[in-house]
C-alpha cells in the first residue's frame, strides 16, 4: 500500500512536516504531504483527487465538501490562525500590532506599498482586511496594497524591501527565515474573523490516514501547532 497523500494548507508547511515525522517515528507508518492552496485542494477533491485527508486553512471549504458528501464527516478544528504586522528593516513603520503606527504613517504618507494576501480568496487576506477595516484604515490603505496570491507571497512582498510592511500569518512570521527579514507584532484576534482551520478525512481515507487524523489531534501534535504559531481551538 502506498502511503496516503495528505492535502494541507500552505501555512502548515513547518508544523505539519514536524508532526508527520513524529508520526512516522511513533507508528512506523508514513504519509505523503502535499502543501498548496486550500482552494485548489477543494477543487481537486471534488474532481476525485486522491487525497485521504484534507487540512484546510479555511473551514468553509471543509464544510462545503462535507455537504457534498465527499468527506467522512465535518472533521475537526485543529488550529486557529493568527496574523501579525511585519515590517522589514529600514521601513518607516514600527512593528505595532495595534496598527496605530500604521495609521500615523499613512497620514504622513510614508507608506507607499503594503502587502497582504488577496482577500478575494485567501483566508489570511480576508483576516488582514478585517483587521485593517476594524482599525479604520482600509479606505486609506486600499490603493497602496500589493496582493499576494497566498499569504506566503504576501510575506515575500512584505519583506522584499519594496513594500513598507504587510500583514501575514503568525505561523510564517515565527519561522526563523522570515523572522530574520523583519520585525513583527501580533495583531489582536478580536479585530478580525477567526481563521478556523479544519481537518477532515475524505471518503478515500485508509488506515494510515485515519491514524494520522487521530495523531494530529493528540496533545503532542497540538503542542507542535502551538509552537508554530497556531492558537489551539480550546484556547479561544
Amino acid at each position: 500500500e502506498e502511503p496516503p497523500v495528505i492535502a494541507a494548507a500552505a501555512d502548515l508547511q513547518f508544523a505539519l512536516t514536524e508532526i508527520a515525522e513524529r508520526f512516522t517515528q511513533e507508528t512506523g507508518r508514513t504519509v505523503r504531504l502535499s502543501f498548496g492552496s486550500s482552494g485548489n485542494f477543494h477543487r481537486q477533491i471534488r474532481e476525485g483527487g486522491p487525497f485521504e485527508m484534507y487540512l484546510s486553512a479555511d473551514e468553509s471549504y471543509v464544510l462545503d465538501l462535507a455537504k457534498e458528501g465527499l468527506t467522512r464527516d465535518e472533521g475537526a478544528l485543529y488550529a486557529v490562525g493568527r496574523i501579525v504586522l511585519i515590517v522589514p528593516p529600514g521601513s518607516p513603520l514600527k512593528a505595532d500590532g495595534s496598527l496605530k503606527d500604521l495609521a500615523a504613517a499613512l497620514e504622513a504618507g510614508s507608506v507607499k506599498k503594503f502587502a497582504i494576501a488577496n482577500p478575494e480568496h485567501a483566508p489570511y487576506g480576508r483576516a488582514a482586511r478585517g483587521a485593517l477595516k476594524a482599525a479604520g484604515l482600509w479606505d486609506k490603505i486600499k490603493d497602496k496594497l500589493v496582493l499576494g496570491e497566498n499569504v506566503s507571497q504576501a510575506a515575500q512582498f512584505a519583506t522584499s524591501g519594496s513594500a513598507q510592511g504587510g500583514i501575514i500569518a503568525y505561523s510564517l512570521a515565527l519561522s526563523p527565515k522570515v523572522s530574520a527579514l523583519g520585525k513583527y507584532d501580533l495583531i489582536p484576534a478580536e479585530g478580525h474573523d477567526p481563521l478556523r482551520q479544519r481537518a477532515v478525512l475524505t471518503k478515500k481515507a485508509g488506515e494510515t490516514a485515519k491514524a494520522f487524523y487521530s495523531f494530529v489531534q493528540t496533545p503532542d501534535a497540538r503542542a507542535a501547532f502551538k509552537r508554530y504559531g497556531f492558537v489551539l481551538p480550546e484556547e479561544k
Binding site: S34, Q44, G48, P50
Partner: protein
C-alpha cells in the same frame, strides 16, 4: 535536493517532447504544406493554450479530464486508473500546453524547405517515409530542435497546470518546479536556490550540447 522531483520533471519533459515530436511533425507539415480554407484559424487556435493563465487552464483541464468527464471516464475504464492526479495526466496536460511551442517552430522550419528540393526527392522515387527521414527532418532540424528545446524547458518550469492537474503528489506528480516553488513559499531560499541552480545547470548543459551538435552537423 529533491531528486525524486528532479527525475520526475526530466521524465515528464522527455515524455512530453517524445509525444510532441510526432505531433509537431505531422501538424507542422500539414500547416506548412496544406492548402485549405481556415488555415489561419487553425494556426491561431494552436496558440490559444498560451493565452490562459496556467492555473486556470489547469483547472479547466482538471474538469474536462477529471473523473466526472467523459474523457476521464473513458481513460479510467481503459487503463483502470484516472487521468488526473497521475503521471499520465501530467503528460497529457503538458503536451496540450506545449502544443504552440512544438508546432509553430516546426511549421516554419518545414515551410522553409525549398519546394524544388522536395520535388527532386519525389523524382528520386523517395517514399513519403524516406523523404521524411532523409529530406524533411534533416533540413528542418534546427527548427525542430528549437521546438523541442522550448517545449522541454517550458515543461521543466511549468507549474500552474502541473500543480492543478497533478495535485503535487510526491513521487508521482510533484515535479521539481513544484518542489522549488514549495521551498520558495516556505522561505527556504537555500534549498530553493540549490535546486534552481542544479536545474539550470542541467538544462544549460543539455541544451548547450544539443545546439553544439546541431551547429556542427550543419557545418556552421
Amino acid at each position: 535536493m529533491d531528486w525524486t522531483a528532479l527525475r520526475l520533471s526530466l521524465t515528464l519533459g522527455l515524455w512530453t517532447i517524445a509525444i510532441l515530436l510526432p505531433i509537431g511533425i505531422v501538424v507542422g507539415q500539414w500547416l506548412a504544406w496544406g492548402r485549405f480554407r481556415g488555415k489561419a484559424l487553425a494556426e491561431a487556435m494552436l496558440a490559444l493554450p498560451l493565452v490562459l493563465p496556467p492555473t486556470v487552464l489547469g483547472y479547466y483541464l482538471l474538469v474536462s479530464l477529471g473523473a466526472h468527464s467523459p474523457l476521464g471516464q473513458a481513460f479510467e475504464s481503459l487503463f483502470g486508473q484516472g487521468l488526473v492526479f497521475s503521471f499520465s495526466g501530467l503528460v497529457v496536460a503538458s503536451v496540450l500546453v506545449n502544443l504552440p511551442f512544438a508546432i509553430q517552430p516546426m511549421q516554419r522550419a518545414f515551410e522553409a524547405i525549398p519546394s524544388e528540393v522536395r520535388e527532386a526527392a519525389a523524382c528520386c522515387g523517395m517514399s513519403r517515409w524516406r523523404m521524411l527521414i532523409h529530406i524533411d527532418l534533416p533540413l528542418a532540424w534546427p527548427g525542430i530542435l528549437t521546438a523541442m528545446v522550448l517545449s522541454f524547458t517550458h515543461t521543466l518550469g511549468e507549474f500552474g497546470v502541473v500543480l492543478m492537474v497533478g495535485g503535487s503528489i510526491p513521487g508521482e506528480t510533484k515535479t521539481i518546479a513544484v518542489a522549488i516553488y514549495d521551498r520558495v513559499q516556505a522561505f527556504d531560499d537555500g534549498a530553493a536556490g540549490t535546486m534552481a541552480a542544479l536545474l539550470l545547470a542541467l538544462s544549460f548543459a543539455t541544451i548547450g550540447v544539443s545546439y553544439a551538435l546541431t551547429n556542427r552537423r550543419q557545418g556552421r
